[in-house]
Amino acid sequence: MSDVADRVKKIVVEHLGVEEDKVVENASFIDDLGADSLDTVELVMAFEEEFGIEIPDDAAETIQTFGDAVKFITEAS
């Protein structure tokens, strides 16, 4: 697993308090990992901080799954 994926997974596990093995490629933050809409905003804020990038609101809305997040951040950083 890439370094980006490891760091994203760490943030998701810490923030949502879920088991690491639940955080898989297609895991939806809201449907599978129990996030509410405010959690997803906070996850995006945490990603921005960790990776020193800006994720605009319209892009943030497309980040629904763990895989989406890793893909977006990999391309942005």
Binding site: L38, V41, E42, M45
Partner: protein
């Protein structure tokens, strides 16, 4: 009780009677205050009176870009914005049948839209900090209506709906959002009324007098405090019993 040491508060309309007292009360409780308003001179006079922990942050609230920039300027000057007090407001009274689009829009822009923009601007850092206080100064008129003030009353009622919705969304993050609704408050504006006019107003108020700006400031201080952490989405009416809501 109500110790705000280490907290930073942004107060709009701090050049006015009520806003100035709010800033003084928060400052006296230990907060660093950012004094915002359009008139620089009274803001600087107030900052000089307060001494340390006071920053002047002029802003024209009818300019959306300036409003969006204000939270960042405040955070740069003070270190953070932990407490936001949206106190600034304007009136452009007119009977409703004659109310122009401009009279409507300008009041909505300054009173309601700028409040929304400032709330939005401070939300991210408050979310991260897991602590925040938003206090929106509404008005008795927002609950009761008032002839000649359809625009002002709509803006003040709108602030209450905005406040409640924000309160819902961020309650789990340690952020509270409340409104304070003053009744008739003695300020430079009401000083101009004749004794006869004042008498008529006082007759409508069970307390039989106008409120003092300090009495609004005390309500704001309470809502800004850590002790008020379980109070959110509420409207604190400070009106001498004029409307018991």
């Amino acid at each position: 009780m109500f110790d705000l040491t280490g907290k930073c508060a942004l107060v709009t309309g701090a050049s006015g009677g009520i806003g100035g007292e709010i800033a003084k009360a928060l400052h006296a409780a230990g907060a660093t205050v950012g004094l915002s308003g359009t008139r620089v001179e009274p803001l600087e006079a107030l900052a000089a009176e307060l001494g340390e922990r006071a920053h002047v942050l002029p802003c024209n609230l009818s300019d959306p870009e300036a409003v969006d920039a204000l939270p960042k300027q405040a955070a740069e000057a003070m270190g953070s914005v932990d407490i936001l007090v949206n106190n600034a407001g304007i009136t452009r009274d007119q009977i409703f049948m004659r109310m122009s689009d401009d009279e409507w829009q300008s009041v909505l822009d300054v009173n309601l839209t700028s409040t929304m923009r400032l709330c939005r601007g401070v939300m991210r850092p408050m979310m991260k900090a897991r602590w925040g206080r938003i206090i929106n100064i509404s008005s008795i008129v927002g609950a009761t209506g008032n002839p000649g003030q359809a625009n002002y009353a709509a803006s003040k009622a709108g602030m209450v709906g905005l406040t409640k919705s924000i309160a819902y969304e961020v309650a789990s993050r340690g952020i509270t959002a409340n409104a304070v609704a003053p009744g008739f408050i003695a300020t430079a504006m009401t000083d101009k009324l004749t004794d006869d006019q004042k008498g008529k107003i006082n007759a409508q108020i069970p307390a039989n007098r106008m409120g003092m700006p300090e009495e609004i400031a005390a309500a704001v201080l309470y809502l800004a405090s850590s002790e008020a952490g379980y109070v959110t989405g509420s409207t604190l009416h400070v009106n001498g019993g004029m409307a018991m809501l």
